[in-house]
Amino acid sequence: MRTATARRMPRWVWAISAVAVLVTITLGVCVGAVYITPANVWAALLGQFATGIPSISEAQETIIWQLRLPRVLLAFVVGSMLASAGCAYQGTFRNPLADPYLLGVSAGAGLGATLIIVNSSVTKNFYLPVAAFVGAMAAVSLTYFLGRSAISGRSSTALILAGVAVASVLTALQTLIQQQNTDVLREVYSWILGRLSTSGWSELLVIAPYILICSYVLLRYRRVLDVFSVGDEEAQTMGLPVSKARGAIIVAASLGTAAAVSVSGLIGFVGIIVPHILRLISGNSYRTLLPLSMIFGGVFLVLADILARTVLAPQEISIGVITALLGAPFFLFVLGSSKSGSIS
């Protein structure tokens, strides 16, 4: 008789993931207006902690530590959060079209950011992320409140519909404000399409605690996401407190997304495309899908950011444009070439 074992991802998958993370991060730090060799990058990184490593020029060190590394890590963290939030939403709503912006996060953040951009009297660097974060959380709270009271939490469709309604209202308000202030149109659009221009480590340090906690919570819920896949009714008869578990997952995914978009703007497609590509490769179990989404969401966004910085250098392209232009066709290619395209 076969021994009882869990169906887990083989170890080499995790090995490949680790290599992918290291390679893309190194690449992200190497590439830019000034090319830095991978050896120098690692010398700079390790030089902080060890002695006897050949030292590199101070200018290169500054570029690595103050410009490239914070930006690459920010891209990784944001991509990781968006992909895992999308993955978690798809699982808990059993809806393949769910993305991190499902419950109005994007519209709320957009409205918050627009309000700050049009108001020239405030310090944008500080208030813009705060306003985007507050707007996103307010929108999700409103959606949750309306969706739950509609059918007392029995149907997740009510919640999604409430999200659509809240997003429509907030987007309308945002458009209205934008129309009144056409002078800042460009700035508003650049935010909405997403951008990762950083100034040192401050953004990363501000959002890291939120994203670490939310990612940890989502990871702990990965088995529960599998239980959701049999439907609410049966999940409940199997002993899952459905509303409570869904509530916790929504809060973690929304909070993490809000933190991410507060500094990155509304980067689209990562949350929907990354999990679906991984589904075609690793299957639909969230036990592996969620951690893989975290890893490859990060990898994907670091690569997209490299392109955003280099294709039209010295000009930067909005990273949201890159994720859509590259992500969508690549996704369609993977979808078309997989015979058993089991998208749930």
């Binding site: 074992t5 088995r223 439907g231 008869t237 199997m238 089991s342 749930s344």
Partner: protein, 258 residues
Amino acid sequence: MTKLTVNKLRVDLGGKSVISDVSIAISLGDWICVIGPNGAGKSSLLKAIAGILPSGGDMFIDDVNLRGLSHRDRACWIAYVAQDPIMPPGMTVFNYVLLGRTAHLKMLASESHVDFEVAHFVITELGLEAFLDRDVMTLSGGERQRVAIARALTQASPIVLLDEPTTALDVGYQQEVLELIDRLCKEKKIAVISTMHDLTVAGLYPKELLLLHHGKIYDAGKPDQVLTRENIAEVYGANIEIISTNGMLAVIPVRLQT
């Protein structure tokens, strides 16, 4: 002996009474089958007992009041398989069956080797070893039903509710699933409450039938007492003949004019 007692159960949906005054008592090892025409409230009755439809009335297992239990504690007593269980695409049979252990795990815990052993044991018992790594979406109707029953058994609850376990199945698969349920009742001493569409099949296996009419119990008892010409004419509005051979009943529809 452990016994589920449902007393004066009622279910209202949208201001309309769907189930009223239904009382059931079932001991371990027994099989009660709920019959009745479309809309009589068969599925609602099972859902109310499973706790997924809000209902009134008392529900006890011995002296444990089911009303006071959390979802998880309740699931340790009662397992439920829906009429057309959702099969998550891309999930293996083993992982699907393993989900049945949810009630025995803290919400954020992962399975231990005990849970794997239980899932394997049930899969072996039900002769599903060959399907272990198969995607549940690729299973046939009969295999799906057996895999869903395996998931319910992995839950290790003494009471199992099965909504129309054989409705979508061909006669061969039907027999396979019914024999399986019958064997589980007798060998594993679980109590089964099922609903069923086919009256002849309903008369064949279960120990007791419960005939629902407009959400109330119209008649209950041994199959030969419930499956009578008069009962079926009254409740289903159908003209039938009951044929009894070697203690087995067959319900034969009769043409109104020949």
